[in-house]
């Protein structure tokens, strides 16, 4: 191994943050372009990483390991498998798109904003590549601070409340997770004659767990703590109440990253850590979690119907969509897990796009109330067309990426419990209801009085805005038509997951 590519990708945004910090704040355009340059660099490198990734191999690749705190066996250890590499690419893609989408809307304190965004990217990539539990925790917490600032400084009217709620919810979960991580490492240390070597190393812990090393009651407690941390982040019903507030108050790009990547951190944690390390507890809690997932799917959809605010509607629809992911994880089938991961990616692309589109309208109207909208298709035809495309993708139109993920989750969970699959299919009808009804109220019909009052401000999307949405649209179509591109990558991780979860490979 020559070039430590994972570290380079992870810390390129940090270098960017340092460079931006040095630039004079009286040149906001220079700051914007520099930030975009660094995020694009990280993106290109992540694509190279994807190209260099050896498909079909099991285990982790591009591993880098260095001792960090030897007295406790804590390492700087990073590596990727098919799941991580996809998540890294998703992160780098959405980050540069978000930065580009912030060029117009963010006019105040540009420097601080861009630095926050770059540090946020460091944390997000770090979470997906960390193979040491302690390192993972550190990156996990690093994500929190910039997002807190992004919502709190550049957010809407009620931003302080929303951002504090976001931080406190997340912190309660993550600090309990820290206790669980330390307890896990300690259990490993005790079982290995008091040696801390490898006690935080994910691969070793996983082998230890696979050999049944962790006791039953210990697993229940540790899994409970990790599950709480991840469930808050996903967010699963009933821990979801921070999400609509955070989404509504965050600036557009903040919402994109929140929906596109931050929610995935929770799912990723469940897949990578919570289930493989504590399979016994995962099985014990599987049914309650499946029930909660279905509640989230149905509840999110029903509540979406009555939301008066565009962003709030999309936020609740996220709760519903993420329910499919947790469902797909906890039926412990390789097919369902592949579907869940595809759903994670697809939700990131689609919901990210929807938030960008709402941001476009908000820039012109400074309002997101559905009741005030109407007839936007007449004045903003390009916008309405793109919006319609993303709406259909979100509703799960076959041929687009959203459909494949949900379909695979159905197939995978059908083998476990046909009733679940049926219940969730019903929800697709609900999803079509709230999404199409929203589209109808916003885009179709005559121009509303409120919009007419804005007069000439209602211009259609400009080139930059279109440039942010185009890559997302392309990816949605490509993944919808050729899902095997991703599914091939995920086969090995999914089988490893099912094996670790202790269930025979299904599907």
């Amino acid at each position: 191994m020559s070039l430590p590519i994972l570290s380079v990708i992870t810390f390129t945004p940090l270098l960017g943050a340092i460079v931006v910090a040095i630039l004079p704040s009286r040149h906001p355009d220079l700051i914007r372009r520099t930030t975009l340059g660094f995020t694009l660099a990280a993106w290109v490198m992540s694509l190279l990483l994807l190209a260099a990734y050896a498909f079909g191999q099991t285990g982790f690749q591009f591993i880098e390991a260095h001792n960090w705190i030897p007295s406790f066996g804590i390492q700087y250890k990073v590596g990727i498998d098919g799941l991580s590499v996809l998540m890294v690419v998703l992160t780098t893609t959405l980050t540069w798109i978000s930065v580009l989408a912030s060029f117009g809307p963010i006019k105040d304190r540009v420097k601080g904003y861009m630095i926050s965004f770059l540090i946020l990217e460091v944390g997000m990539i770090g979470v997906f590549v960390a193979l040491d539990l302690f390192l993972f925790y550190i990156f996990w917490e690093i994500v929190l601070v910039p997002m807190y600032l992004i919502i709190g400084i550049w957010g809407g009217a009620n931003r302080v409340y929303a951002t504090m709620k976001f931080v406190l919810y997340t912190l309660v979960g993550s600090l309990l997770m820290l206790v669980a991580i330390l307890a896990t490492a300690y259990a490993y240390q005790v079982a290995h004659g008091g040696s801390w070597v490898g006690a935080f190393d994910y691969e070793r812990l996983q082998q230890f767990a696979a050999a049944g090393g962790f006791g039953g009651n210990f697993q229940l407690l540790a899994f409970g703590a990790l599950f709480l941390a991840f469930a808050i982040k996903v967010p699963m019903f009933p821990f979801h109440t921070w999400l609509p507030d955070a989404h509504t108050e965050a600036p557009t790009a903040g919402s994109v990253i929140l929906a596109g990547v931050l929610l995935k951190l929770g799912c990723y944690g469940l897949i990578r850590f919570a289930v493989p390390l504590y399979p016994h507890a995962a099985h014990t809690f599987a049914w309650p979690i499946i029930v909660l997932s279905i509640v989230a799917i149905v509840y999110g959809a029903i509540v979406s119907i009555v939301q008066p605010d565009l962003k709030r509607l999309i936020a609740y629809s996220s709760v519903s969509h993420m329910g499919f992911v947790t469902l797909g994880i906890f039926v412990f089938s390789a097919t369902a897990l592949q579907g869940a991961i595809l759903q994670m990616i697809s939700h990131g692309l689609i919901t990210g796009g929807l938030f960008l589109l709402v941001g476009v309208v908000y820039e012109r109207t400074h309002d997101r109330t559905i009741a005030k909208m109407g007839g936007l298709a007449a004045t903003m035809p390009i916008w309405a067309t793109v919006f319609g495309f993303f709406i259909l993708a979100s509703a799960g139109l076959p041929g687009l990426s959203g459909f494949v993920g949900e379909f695979l989750v159905f197939v995978g969970s059908f083998g476990v419990a046909p009733g679940i699959a049926f219940a969730s299919i019903v929800v697709m009808v609900l999803a079509a209801t709230y999404l199409l009804w929203m589209f109808q109220r916003v885009a179709l019909g005559g121009l509303s009085d409120f919009l007419r009052g804005l007069g000439g401000h209602l211009t259609d999307m400009n080139g930059t805005e279109l440039a942010t949405l185009l890559p997302l649209g392309v990816l949605i179509v490509v993944l919808g038509l050729f899902p095997s591109l991703v599914l091939d990558l995920l086969r090995a991780p999914a089988q490893a997951f099912v094996a670790a979860a202790g269930v025979a490979v299904g599907g």
């Binding site: 690093i142 807190y148 400084i153 406190l168 309660v172 330390l182």
Partner: protein
């Protein structure tokens, strides 16, 4: 007494000479700050060199009343750093208020001399005398702004409750002496071990233990003995508060290490439940009350009570059988020193112009008004919250890890500590909200601190980062300083 005894305590002797030198310089060139500051900081530098020369050596002086070991070296270095930082932060503040710098520096160095003596005390009587030498100058410092009624009020409360607690502690020490017949800590430990082996622990010893616990709990501001803290912290001149929040606290934990661990270690199974309850109460109450504070100094006072609670978790872990709990306390003390002094220093910077209050509204818009101060304050507050990779995170992680290793009730204590840490995020981040998410008040001007002040801020900021990024450097020292490892 011999010359080798003097050699063993040479850092303490030099420190006393430095304090005297400051007063002499003030008489020779009255009213000039540069020579005084140079004498104080230069003198403290010499003390630091004297301490470092002793690093790695072990020795005893005065028939075993004073011990030189790695613990002494670690704590002495910390105290010297505290004194130097306090002086760096105080000069601007005192000068703009017409308060004398020389007296301040001299009294401070005397206090630190006492603290250094505490660190090396292995005799109950010397421990008490050293403690008094540490706290008496503290009362003077608290009352330093003598025309300010709040300063006087806080100082009187601090003095009265502090004197009571000293008396209570002394009473407890007398019991221990009466029951064991010796004042040397190793002698006490040996006598207790024999008594336990014979199964004959007298009730008087329990009385002594109770008195000593109450006395020390006062000094470290543990709930329910914390009532002096908020008033003393809020009323004192801000640089003094910075000192009070770390100097006497680390000093109190030095007493804990020398007295409870060194002398009363054999009884640890008996005082473990007390420490668990104290820790749980201290961190929970400290945090809950801090949430409702609108004055940042008062808020940090309650937060300092909460941090005492986290440090007590380390002590409980020791009593529960994990020696690493003590290393964790030492790491915590060092990390807390830098991040907390940094936070108080920012308040002092804002209060450079007399009349500026420490209300949270003072912080409104600081991020825009003075980006560097805002960024540093954010750094210190995030570190106090325990966000990685900053000093405060590792401090908590080590304490929690020790508690988990001890197991049983201590695991529950670890969980409680983490829930507390999450609650604490609310009030720390509230200051960040004011700094970055509120518009500044109209008249607030730039604070432009002096060069010395900036150097002090740089030291605390860099230390907070270095502790966070390379904790192994500090754990090497704190592990070596844990002389109680089996």
């Amino acid at each position: 007494m011999s010359w080798s005894d003097i050699g063993t305590i040479s850092p303490v002797v030099i420190a006393i000479l430095v304090a005297a030198a400051i007063l002499i310089v003030d008489m020779a060139v009255p009213g000039r700050r540069a020579p005084i500051v140079a004498t104080a900081l230069g003198g403290l530098g010499i003390v630091a060199v004297a301490i470092l020369i002793q690093a790695g050596h072990n020795g005893r002086a005065f028939g075993g009343a004073y011990s030189l070991d790695n613990l002494t070296v670690f704590l002495d270095m910390l105290f010297v750093a505290i004194a130097a930082l306090t002086i760096m932060f105080a000069v601007d503040y005192l000068e703009s208020r017409g308060l004398p710098i020389a007296e301040f520096a001299a009294v401070l160095v005397f206090a630190v001399t006492g603290a250094m003596l505490v660190a090396g005390s292995t005799d109950l009587l010397l421990l008490f005398v050293a403690l008094e030498l540490m706290v008496l100058p503290g009362y003077m410092l608290a009352a330093f702004a003598r025309r300010d009624p709040y300063s006087t009020e806080g100082a009187i409360k601090y003095f009265l409750l502090g004197s009571f607690s000293s008396a209570i502690l002394l009473f407890g020490l007398a019991y221990v002496w009466g029951m064991t017949g010796t004042t040397r800590v190793d002698g006490v430990a040996a006598a207790l071990a024999t008594a336990i082996a014979r199964g004959s622990i007298q009730p008087g010893l329990a009385m002594g233990l109770a008195f000593m616990t109450a006395g020390v709990a006062f000094k470290m501001a543990a709930v329910p003995f914390h009532y002096w803290t908020p008033d003393a912290y809020q009323g004192s001149p801000t640089p003094v508060t910075a000192y009070l929040s770390v100097g006497p606290k680390v000093g109190a934990f030095a007493i804990v290490l020398r007295l409870f661990v060194g002398a009363l270690g054999p009884l640890k199974a008996d005082w473990l439940p007390v420490v668990i309850v104290l820790a749980a109460l201290t961190m929970t109450l400290g945090n809950l009350v801090a949430i409702s504070q609108d004055n940042v100094k008062r808020m940090l006072a309650y937060s300092s009570i909460a941090h005492t609670g986290y440090m007590l978790v380390g002590l409980a872990a020791y009593a529960g059988g994990q020696q690493s709990g003590l290393s964790a306390i030492l790491f915590y003390g060092a990390a807390y020193t830098f991040m907390n002094m940094g936070a108080f220093a920012i308040i002092a910077a804002l209060q450079r112009r007399p009349g500026v209050t420490s209300q949270i509204a003072t912080f409104a818009g600081l991020g825009r008004r003075d980006p560097w101060l805002g960024a540093l304050m954010t750094l210190f507050l995030l570190s106090l919250t325990g966000i990685p990779p900053l000093a405060g995170f590792w401090a908590k992680a080590y304490v929690i890890l020790a508690a988990i290793q001890a197991g049983g009730w201590l695991t529950a204590l670890a969980v409680l500590a983490m829930i507390n840490a999450a609650a604490a995020a609310f009030y720390y981040l509230r200051v960040v909200v004011y700094m970055y998410m509120r518009e500044p008040a109209a008249e607030a001007g730039p604070s432009s601190p002096g060069l010395l002040f900036r150097a002090g801020l740089a030291v605390t900021g860099v230390a907070t980062l270095i502790f966070g990024l390379f904790p192994a450097l500090v754990t090497a020292a704190s592990n070596a300083a844990n002389v109680f490892r089996g």
